[in-house]
């Protein structure tokens, strides 16, 4: 209840001993130097240190296998670090698993109580928040139905609804935000904002750079178990994207490959943040090691949930197919008009034979970009709404 500031300091690893007895005997016979790796062990995290001040929201990003989940589990106390120490002050709550402990045979009501106590609420607290929880999930009429009869969306909504009503001092969030339909996701993101503004300390682990950018003032970038950068979110996200692009420019092994991508907005400015509706030019360079013929270039756009919101190919656009030789790289520029809702999107590129019988190269994400909208519109497509009438039908005489 008292102090709510906290501090993390660690340098730890996660050791997974395959078999206890041989390892123990080996250790007894040849005590390994401290910090050494036994066969089959690896450092999921190595000398990771960072502080989170009270009331601060900190993001943790990094590609798969960078150690994000391990950090989560250590912060919540599910696993203990091999070396180093963490210090947390206050009540910690983790949104790692939505609907933890839900049982299919129990009703929604019963599961709310069960899940709520598992997440650390008292029964009195749940009773107080019960209506709010049901309301948030939008499941009032099904609350006495066993959850085995729920759709997966309803199930996730109920789980998330309980989770966001825990009021911890320190909230640790995994990528559980990506549950339910689009509307519900927005509701969850809004709720997260509320929590952050309410002064809670938040550690947010995510792939969703847009959400991290919006939510967190500072961000930690992990790379293979080490902290690569800690700093203002914008800077760290920039590093992360730059590195992703760098990796992309390393030449792949195929006969023909995508050698470069550039996105430019209107006015020719290179950048990755565009206005909704902006005409964006995508320039692609294709190179090859041996002459390749009858190629087609596929262009896709994916949203934050990896939903394919758009896809086409030069072949289908009537541009025909193309050939490329080691001496003559092929260049292609496609204009796309970004009629998209606000959010983060991924540009995907594929290089394949015109009949898709052979794929030479695939880049996803070839680029990550943001779309900003002046209007508060949500959803993948942007229909540019304009309110043209707004009023009730009153008899003419009554207008005030």
């Amino acid at each position: 209840m008292e102090s709510v500031s906290k501090k993390f300091r660690r340098g730890e690893l996660y050791d997974s001993l395959r078999d206890l007895v041989p390892a123990l005997t080996r250790r007894l016979l040849h005590p390994p130097p401290k910090g050494a790796l036994l066969k089959g062990e690896f450092w999921a995290l190595k000398d990771v240190s960072f502080d989170v001040a009270r009331g601060e929201a900190v993001g943790v990003i990094g590609e798969n296998g960078a150690g994000k989940s391990t950090i989560l589990k250590i912060l919540t106390g599910i696993i203990r670090p091999t070396a180093g120490a963490i210090r947390v002050r206050g009540r910690v709550s983790a949104l790692i698993e939505v609907g933890a402990g839900f049982h299919p045979d129990l009703t929604g009501r019963e599961n709310i109580y069960l899940n709520g106590t598992i997440l650390g609420m008292s029964r009195a607290e749940i009773r107080r928040k019960f209506d709010a929880i049901v309301d948030f999930a939008g499941l009032a009429e099904f609350i006495d139905t066993p959850v085995k009869r729920y759709s997966s969306g309803m199930y996730a909504r109920l789980g998330f609804s309980v989770a966001v009503h825990v009021e911890p001092d320190v909230l640790i969030v995994d990528e559980v935000l990506s549950v339910g339909d689009y509307v519900f996701q927005r509701k969850c993101t809004d709720r997260m904002f509320q929590v952050v503004r309410g002064g809670a300390t938040v550690v947010f682990v995510s792939h969703n750079l847009h959400a991290v950018n919006d939510l967190c003032s500072r961000t930690v970038l992990l790379h293979r178990g080490r902290v690569e950068q800690v700093g203002p979110t914008a800077e760290v996200v920039r590093t992360y994207l730059d590195r992703a692009r760098q990796r992309m420019t390393e030449e792949p092994a195929g006969d023909a490959f995508i050698a470069g991508v550039r996105m430019t907005g209107e006015g020719g400015a290179e950048g990755l943040a565009f206005r909704a509706g902006e005409r964006v030019r995508v320039e692609v360079e294709v190179r090859s090691r041996v002459p390749c013929e009858r190629l087609s270039l596929g262009v896709q756009v994916y949203d934050e949930e990896n939903y394919n919101v758009f896809n086409t190919a030069t072949e289908r656009l009537g541009a025909g197919n193309f050939a490329v030789t080691p001496d003559h790289p092929f260049r292609c520029a496609v204009d796309l008009q970004m009629h998209l809702g606000e959010g983060t999107y991924f540009l995907g590129l594929t290089l394949h034979r015109y009949d898709i019988q052979r794929q030479y190269d695939r880049r996803l994400p070839a680029e990550t970009f943001f779309v900003r909208s002046e209007q508060d519109v949500r959803g993948a497509a942007n229909l540019y709404p304009r309110v043209v009438r707004f009023g009730s039908d009153r008899p003419a005489g009554e207008a005030s």
Binding site: Y14, S16, L20, K73, T76, G77, I78, I79, R80, V92, A94, I96, E97, A100, G101, H103, D105, L106, E110, Y113, L114, T117, I118, L119, M121, S122, R123
Partner: protein, 261 residues
């Protein structure tokens, strides 16, 4: 050790909910409902009466009603002991998603299993009380021994449950081992018979730490005499030490649970 205990006290709402979940799941969509609670003791009592019948047939003495009542008084706690350990042994594995995804004092899972079995025990005890009244078992001051004896029983059951739950998380065959042990333990425990039927073997049988508890219960409730106190003290010490050791061990192993499950 005290750490684990106070953790669980702080999470008593959770303990209550987990216990309630186990109970309601056991009785939801079932044919027999609460009859399950008395089925197991009834089977044991039937077996006991059969065994006693055989004894009396051999010794040519008429079978007495008290013999049947003793078996009944001992088989209800025995059913609790067996049932609690059986459920608790699996409790961590069957809650593996909680063990790996949520930070909780994990000893709460085997303890919740024991608590849910306590309810069955209570239901069966209520039925047993009715049987005892009908069978004119009588009342005496010796009944005051019942609460401390039950406390020893619960402590011992909890201790074993905590140990087997942790062990079965690391080695899956522990479950089968426990099953075999529980099946055959009844032959080495005075449930169907009394230790007084043996002269030389008596103290060896009482070395089984659960035996003095069961004998004590039948002494206090049916035979209206003082339980074998030194042996009861032995059981009490055993239960206390076992509980302490099991909590300590559990706490030591706890950090490995999420990785090894």
């Amino acid at each position: 050790m005290s750490g684990e205990g106070s953790d669980i006290l702080r999470h008593r709402d959770l303990l209550l909910m987990l216990t309630w979940r186990e109970i309601s799941l056991r009785y939801k969509q079932t044919l027999m409902g609460f009859l399950w609670a008395i089925l197991m003791p009834m089977v044991v009592v039937a077996a006991g009466i059969l065994v006693r019948g055989a004894f009396t047939a051999i010794s040519n003495k008429p079978m007495q009603l008290t013999a049947a009542l003793t078996v009944a008084v001992k088989s209800v706690p025995w059913a609790f002991f067996v049932g609690a350990i059986r459920f608790a042994t699996n409790s961590l594995i069957s809650n593996s998603n909680l063990v790996t995804k949520v930070a909780l004092p994990r000893a709460i899972f085997p303890i919740a299993s024991v608590c849910s079995q306590l309810l069955d025990f209570a239901v069966a005890s209520a039925v047993l009380t009715v049987v005892l009244v009908i069978g004119h078992a009588g009342i005496s001051w010796q009944l005051l021994w019942v609460p401390p004896l039950l406390l020893i029983l619960v402590a011992m059951t909890t201790g074993i449950s905590i140990l087997t739950s942790a062990a079965s998380l690391f080695y899956r065959d522990v479950k089968y081992l426990v099953e075999v042990f529980l099946t055959f333990a009844i032959f080495f425990t005075p449930v169907l018979y009394d230790v007084d039927m043996f002269t030389h073997l008596r103290q060896w049988l009482l070395l089984n730490p659960i035996a003095p508890v069961l004998e004590g219960l039948s002494d206090a409730i049916v035979k209206h005499r003082t339980p074998p106190l030194p042996w009861v003290a032995y059981s009490a010490v055993f239960a206390a030490v076992l509980l302490a050791v099991s909590l300590w061990t559990f706490r030591r192993l706890d950090p490995l649970f999420a990785e090894r499950i």
